[in-house]
C-alpha cells in the first residue's frame, strides 16, 4: 500500500475513457491529478511533481509524443516515468513512443489489473532510481569533504613541519658532537620522509577534490623523457640497472599538453620500475595510436625485469596506501600513493593505465594519453628555459666546479647545464673542492653551503686565502643554499662568495647568474695598473677603461650586477611611459655611480634624467641602450691603494 499516496498525472482529453481509469487508480490508493491536454498538464507540472504520468497520444494541440519529448529534455522532469495509453496499435507507433522517451506503452482497451501492475512496477523503479541518485550524491559529498579536509590538514601539518626540518638543518650547522650529529641527521631524515608522505597525500587529495587544473602548453617529448631518466639514473646506477628509452619514429617531438603531469606520471612509473629492479633493465617505449581528428593518443610502455606483482594484487596496487604486501613496504619503502596518483591523473587527462606482470619475471606498465601535436615546432630541440633557446649560443665556454654532497642536486645542475658550453666537474665537499681547485683552478665555482667534512663557508675562505697567496684574481663563487634568510646571504658574502642563489634554483636564473659572473671576470682585471694616475680615475680619453681603487674590488661585482638590473628596470619603466618614475630611477643610479667613481655612467644617467623630464622618449631609449652597452663593455682595472695618503 503506498504511504503516502503516490501521485499519478493522467493526461487525456477524452472524458469517457478517463473516468473509469480514475476510479481504478483511486481504488488502488493513488492520488490522481487530471490534465485535459498537454498545455494544461504543463501548467500543472509547475507546482506538481507526480510519481508517474499516464499519457494519451492523440490530443488536440500538442500530441502525447511531442509532449513526452519535451518533458524528457527538462532536467526537472526527465526521471518521471511516462506510460503511453493509446489506441494506436501499429508497431511503428509503439517504437515512436519509446523513441520519444516513454517507459512503457499500453494499447487501449486494456486490462485494469495489467495497467495497475505496470504502474506499480514503474513507480517502484522510479523510487529506486531516486534513492540511488541520493546515495551517490551523498557519497560524492562525503568524498569531497574528506579530500578537502585532507588538503587543509596536510597544509596545516606542512607548515610546522617545514620549521622542524629547517631548524634541524640550522642545528646541524652548529658545533655538535658526533653523536649529536647522528641524532640530528635521523631527526632531519625522519622529517623529510614525513614531508614526502604529506606531499603525496596533499597531491592526491587535491586531485580527488577536483582542484587539479590541467595545462595545455607546447613541450618537447625527448627532453621531458631525458629529464625523467636523469633523475632516476642515480638509483639505477647504484642497483646496476640500465634504463633505455625508445621513441617510435612516428611520435611527434613537439606536443601540446600538460608536461608537468606527464613528467609526474613517468617519474612515478619509471621510479617504481627502478626501485623494484636490481641488476636488470628498465625500458621506456613511446608509440602512437591515431584518434579521429587532429588528436593522437600516445602509448607509453615501462617494462622492467624486477620482482613483479602477483596476479591477485595487480588491481589492488592502484588503491591508496596499498603495495603488493607489507613486506614490500618494509623492504622498499614508499607510501603506496604513487600509482593511485598516476591513475587519478590519467583519468583526468582522459588516459588509461594498466599492467601485465609475472612474479619473479618483471612488470610492464602501459598508459595512454591523448595529445595534440604542437602547431609550430620550436626552432631548437632544447626547451624548458626561456633564456636557453634565446642566448645559449652567446654563452662563453667555461670550466665550472660544482661542490655539492647531494647527488640529486648534482644531477639536476648537470642537466640544467647540459646544453650550455660549460663543462662541469663535481666535488663532494668543501675539502675536496679546495684540493681540486688549488691543483687546477676553474673559471667559476658553484658552492653548496651545507656539506659534511668542510662546509661552503670554510671552503670559500680557504680558496680566497690561496688566491691571495698566489696573487690570483678571485674566481667567482656562487653560493647555493636552501636557506632564504638574509643572514645566510650575509654570511656567504662575508666568507667571500660573490653571489647567492637559494635552492631550488631555476634553470634560467642559474644560467643567467653564471653568465653574468663570467662576463664580469672578463671585464674586471685585478692586476695592478703600472702607469695609473693617482686616485680613482675614470679615463677621460677612454671611458671604457676604468681604474678604481683596489679596496672597491669586493663591492664591484655586486654593483655591476645591480646596475645591470637597474638598467633593465629602466627599460621596463620606459615601456610603460612613466617618465617621472624613470627620472627617479636615473637619479638614484646617477648618484651611486658617481660615488663609486663611474663618472661616465653617472653622466649618462644625468642625461637620461634630463631627457625623462623633457619627455624625450627617443633620447631616453638611446641613453638606456648606451648605459647597458657601457655596463657590458667597461673594463675595470684596480689600483693598489695610495700609500702617499693623498
Amino acid at each position: 500500500m503506498p504511504i503516502p499516496a503516490h501521485t499519478v498525472l493522467l493526461i487525456d482529453d477524452n472524458k469517457v475513457t478517463r473516468t473509469p481509469l480514475v476510479t481504478v487508480l483511486e481504488q488502488a490508493d493513488y492520488k490522481v491529478v487530471l490534465g485535459g491536454n498537454a498545455e494544461e498538464a504543463m501548467k500543472l507540472l509547475r507546482t506538481l511533481m507526480p510519481d508517474i504520468i499516464l499519457l494519451d497520444v492523440m490530443m488536440p494541440g500538442i500530441n502525447g509524443f511531442s509532449f513526452c519529448r519535451k518533458l524528457k529534455k527538462n532536467k526537472r522532469y526527465q526521471d518521471i516515468p511516462v506510460i503511453f495509453l493509446t489506441s494506436l496499435s501499429q508497431q511503428t507507433d509503439i517504437v515512436k513512443g519509446f523513441d520519444a522517451g516513454g517507459q512503457d506503452y499500453i494499447i487501449k482497451p486494456f486490462n485494469q489489473q495489467e495497467l495497475l501492475a505496470r504502474v506499480r512496477t514503474h513507480i517502484h523503479l522510479h523510487d529506486t532510481l531516486l534513492e540511488n541518485k541520493r546515495l551517490s550524491q551523498l557519497a560524492l559529498d562525503a568524498s569531497r569533504s574528506k579530500s578537502e579536509f585532507l588538503a587543509s590538514m596536510s597544509h596545516e601539518i606542512r607548515t610546522p613541519l617545514n620549521s622542524i626540518i629547517g631548524m634541524a638543518e640550522v642545528l646541524a650547522e652548529t658545533t655538535l658532537s658526533e653523536e649529536q650529529h647522528e641524532y640530528v641527521r635521523i631527526f632531519r631524515s625522519a622529517g623529510e620522509s614525513l614531508l614526502e608522505i604529506i606531499n603525496d597525500i596533499l597531491g592526491l587529495s587535491k586531485i580527488e577534490a577536483g582542484q587539479t587544473e590541467l595545462e595545455t602548453i607546447d613541450f618537447d617529448l625527448p627532453t621531458l623523457l631525458e629529464s625523467v631518466t636523469t633523475i632516476v639514473s642515480l638509483r639505477a646506477d647504484e642497483q646496476e640497472t640500465t634504463i633505455s628509452t625508445h621513441i617510435d619514429s612516428d611520435v611527434p617531438f613537439y606536443l601540446k599538453g600538460d608536461p608537468t603531469r606527464l613528467r609526474q606520471i613517468l617519474l612515478n612509473l619509471v621510479g617504481n620500475a627502478v626501485k623494484f629492479t636490481e641488476k636488470g633493465q628498465v625500458e621506456i617505449t613511446v608509440s602512437t595510436k591515431s584518434l579521429p581528428g587532429p588528436d593522437q593518443e600516445l602509448l607509453f610502455t615501462i617494462k622492467d625485469n624486477g620482482i613483479g606483482i602477483p596476479a591477485d594484487k595487480q588491481q589492488l596496487i592502484f588503491e591508496s596506501f596499498t603495495q603488493a604486501d607489507s613486506l614490500t613496504t618494509r623492504k622498499y619503502g614508499g607510501t603506496g600513493l604513487g600509482l593511485t596518483i598516476c591513475q587519478k591523473l590519467l583519468t583526468i587527462m582522459q588516459g588509461h593505465i594498466w599492467l601485465t606482470s609475472q612474479p619473479g619475471k618483471g612488470s610492464t606498465f602501459f598508459f595512454t594519453i591523448p595529445f595534440s601535436q604542437a602547431t609550430a615546432p620550436r626552432p631548437e630541440i632544447n626547451t624548458n628555459s626561456e633564456l636557453q633557446s634565446a642566448s645559449c649560443d652567446l654563452l662563453p665556454s667555461a670550466r665550472i666546479l660544482l661542490v655539492d654532497d647531494n647527488q640529486d642536486n648534482c644531477n639536476l645542475i648537470r642537466l640544467y647545464l647540459r646544453s650550455t658550453p660549460f663543462t662541469l666537474k663535481t666535488a663532494e665537499n668543501g675539502q675536496e673542492a679546495v684540493k681540486v681547485f688549488c691543483a687546477k683552478p676553474y673559471d667559476l665555482i658553484l658552492m653548496d653551503i651545507e656539506m659534511p667534512i668542510m662546509d661552503g663557508y670554510e671552503a670559500t675562505q680557504k680558496i680566497r686565502q690561496w688566491e691571495q697567496k698566489h696573487k690570483r684574481a678571485p674566481v667567482p663563487i656562487i653560493a647555493l643554499t636552501a636557506h632564504a634568510f638574509i643572514r645566510f646571504k650575509k654570511k656567504c658574502l662575508d666568507a667571500g662568495c660573490n653571489d647567492f642563489l637559494t635552492k631550488p634554483v631555476k634553470k634560467s636564473k642559474l644560467i643567467e647568474t653564471i653568465a653574468t659572473h663570467l662576463q664580469l671576470t672578463n671585464q674586471i682585471q685585478t692586476e695592478p695598473v703600472a702607469m695609473a694616475p693617482a686616485g680613482a680615475t675614470d679615463g677621460k680619453d677612454d671611458p671604457n677603461k676604468l681604474v678604481l681603487d683596489q679596496k672597491l674590488a669586493k663591492l664591484i661585482p655586486r654593483f655591476m650586477i645591480n646596475k645591470k638590473q637597474d638598467a633593465k628596470k629602466m627599460l621596463a619603466t620606459l615601456a610603460t611611459g612613466a617618465m617621472q618614475d624613470l627620472k627617479k630611477q636615473a637619479h638614484t643610479v646617477k648618484g651611486t655611480s658617481w660615488m663609486y667613481g663611474f663618472t661616465h655612467l653617472g653622466d649618462l644617467c644625468l642625461a637620461l634624467e634630463k631627457s625623462a623630464e623633457a619627455h624625450d622618449l627617443t633620447q631616453a631609449k638611446h641613453l638606456i641602450d648606451e648605459i647597458i652597452t657601457y655596463l657590458d663593455t667597461v673594463h675595470i682595472h684596480y689600483q693598489k691603494p695610495d700609500n702617499t695618503d693623498g
Binding site: 654593483f559 637619479h587 660615488m595 644625468l606
Partner: protein, 126 residues
C-alpha cells in the same frame, strides 16, 4: 684615542649604502648603520640616536628634507646633525630645499669621499 662617531646612513640604493659603510668604517673613526629602507628611517634614527645622520634627499618613501624636519621637531632627535648627500646638480634644485635646521650640510654625490669626511668632521666636531 679619538671617539668613534656613530652614523646612520639612509639612501635607497643598497650599493651606495655598502660603499659608504665600507669607506667610512675603513678609517676606524666611524661606525655606520646603513639602511636602504627610507620608510623605516625615522624609527631607525630614533632607536640608534646617532651622532650624525646622512640622508639622501630624493627617496621613494620619504623625502630627505621632510625626514629631517620631523627629526628637528622631536626633542629626542632635534640635536642630531644632518648631512644631506644628494645627486642633485643644479643650484635651483638645491635652493628649493630651503633651510629650517641649523646643523645641516649638503654634499654632492659627485664629490670625492674626502669631501664627505671633511663635512662630517665639520658637523660633529665641538
Amino acid at each position: 684615542m679619538q671617539k668613534i662617531t656613530r652614523i646612520v646612513l639612509v639612501d635607497d640604493d643598497q650599493d651606495l649604502c655598502d660603499l659608504l659603510k665600507m669607506e667610512l668604517e675603513a678609517s676606524g673613526r666611524f661606525q655606520v648603520t646603513a639602511s636602504s629602507q627610507s620608510g623605516s628611517a625615522l624609527a631607525l634614527i630614533k632607536t640608534e640616536r646617532p651622532d650624525l645622520a646622512i640622508l639622501d634627499i630624493n627617496m621613494p618613501e620619504i623625502h630627505g628634507v621632510e625626514l629631517a624636519t620631523t627629526l628637528a621637531q622631536d626633542p629626542q632627535t632635534a640635536g642630531i646633525p644632518i648631512l644631506y648627500l644628494t645627486g642633485m646638480v643644479s643650484p635651483e634644485e638645491v635652493n628649493q630645499l630651503g633651510g629650517g635646521h641649523s646643523l645641516q650640510t649638503l654634499v654632492s654625490k659627485q664629490s670625492p669621499i674626502t669631501e664627505l669626511v671633511a663635512a662630517i668632521d665639520n658637523l660633529v666636531s665641538p
